[in-house]
């Protein structure tokens, strides 16, 4: 694999998708307002939960805000990269244009997962980072090197898991052709990531850590921020993320064997 070639191609991807997205400037503004409103809405919901209770699942309001911040960052990443690209896979398969992707002298998974970019998600990522800084202040978290590395590791693992989940669903289009609604199901499950895992009942907690590891995505990084995460949890997240990435790769190669182009 030639890294320089891929970097060069990626630069071109960014250039073309920015050029096409900036055609709709008002759209980006509307998306920004949407992101702000949805953050306000979920903080409002959280404040309803906390209006008569000091703790939800052992988390204080200020601590639960960290989860919101991390969720907002990850949602921004989803809207910037995963959502525009992976919905494109569905289109490629339905219209048979996946053939053109497969013929290109470049890795097809790379092409298909990074081709597009939606700049309005950047604003959401920034919004999340701002909230995160605010949380660091109100929770009086000391920034030191080990904390920074651990939080970076866990957040990048979350991104990998999230990517793999999206990629699994989109890849299954090869068999099912229409998976828009499967994506909706994933979206509604991801919504759980806005709340601390401990606030759910035991059966849901098990479901969301084993079958769909949404628990790992936001709760573990937030625990790292609060400084009360155990090492085994972080290690587990790294293992889960690696497993998911490897399987997503294998699954893609496996699915391609079943791809039978359009009208054939």
């Amino acid at each position: 694999m030639n890294l320089r070639k891929y970097l060069k191609v990626y630069k071109k991807f960014i250039h073309t998708s920015l050029a096409s997205e900036l055609e709709y400037k008002t759209n980006i503004l509307v998306d920004l307002v949407t992101a702000i409103l949805s953050l306000i809405g979920s903080i409002f919901l959280l404040s309803i939960f906390f209006q008569n209770n000091g703790y939800i699942g052992g988390w204080e309001f200020e601590q639960a805000l960290i989860i919101q911040a991390i969720y907002t960052i990850l949602n921004g990443i989803t809207n910037t990269w995963f959502n525009p690209n992976l919905t494109e896979i569905v289109k490629h398969i339905r219209e048979g244009t996946l053939d053109f992707v497969l013929l290109k002298p470049i890795d097809s998974q790379f092409f298909i997962s990074l081709k597009k970019l939606n700049p309005s998600g950047f604003l959401e990522i920034m919004l999340g980072i701002l909230l995160l800084f605010f949380c660091i202040r109100i929770n009086q978290i000391n920034l030191n090197l080990s904390f920074l590395t651990l939080s970076l590791i866990t957040i990048s693992c979350s991104i990998c898991i999230l990517y793999s989940l999206w990629f699994f669903i989109s890849t299954s289009t090869i068999w099912f052709v229409k998976t828009w609604n499967a994506i909706e199901v994933l979206r509604s499950f991801l919504y759980i990531g806005r709340f601390p895992l401990n606030s759910f009942s035991l059966s849901l907690r098990i479901f969301f850590s084993i079958f769909i590891p949404i628990a790992f995505i936001t709760t573990i990084p937030s625990e790292v921020f609060l400084g009360d995460s155990q090492l085994w949890k972080i290690l587990l997240e790294v293992i889960v993320a690696t497993l998911f990435l490897i399987t997503s790769r294998k699954f893609w190669l496996f699915a391609l064997k079943f791809y039978s182009s359009a009208s054939s």
């Binding site: 709709y24 509307v30 949407t34 309803i48 609604n181 199901v185 509604s188």
Partner: protein, 244 residues
Amino acid sequence: MLEYRVEIALWAISGIIPFFMLNIWTNNNLNESINISDVLLSRYFLCAFFVRQFSVVWVVFSFEEDSLMGKISPYLIQPLNPFFRYFAQHLAEQITRFPFALLIAFFFFIFNPDSIWIPNLGILLLSIVSTFLSFLIQFLIQSIVACLCFWTEKASSIERLLFIPTLFLSGLLAPVVSFPAYVKSWIYFTPFPYLIDFPANLLSGNETNISGGFSMQILWIFLLFPLFKKIWSEGTKKYTAMGS
């Protein structure tokens, strides 16, 4: 419609967020502070799920696609407002969704046997009517947004913007009674609580103002319908088929 059974089943599953919310409420005993018993709250969220299933609207997405693809032009020649076509599609899909929603309710009752109840016939009929009115309000709002396609081409981002207050204020995630006083003071003048909270309260047997709710629903329909007619006639004048 029956061709897409899996699609519709998945669509029904994607609406289960109210159950997750219920789990947070009961698992942390949050309902004690708003004086609703566990059983009534679980019925409320089940009804919220049902109302949502039968009042969800996606006309803006269909209309945007059709208008970008230029499919609107032949519809416009026909002596029938194209929105009737979408309206009929929505109704047909709601009927197909009914068995799946019942199945989900069945599983819900297996896990929560305490909350089984049978609403009396009058209440059932009233709540069906109010769910339909809620569907009409949402259909009108989305049709108005869809008509903005005549000006901006991408109206679905405006719809996503409007969806946020609908999500948080309609009572899908938390019953409106639990909202803080500074929100409750104005929320009943907006259409949002009548979309899910009012029909769900009615069906689940929670306390609600029946005549007030119905009159607000009808009032909003009477306000929105002329607006839709106006924007539709303005928009069709503005319409130039794609590529012309």
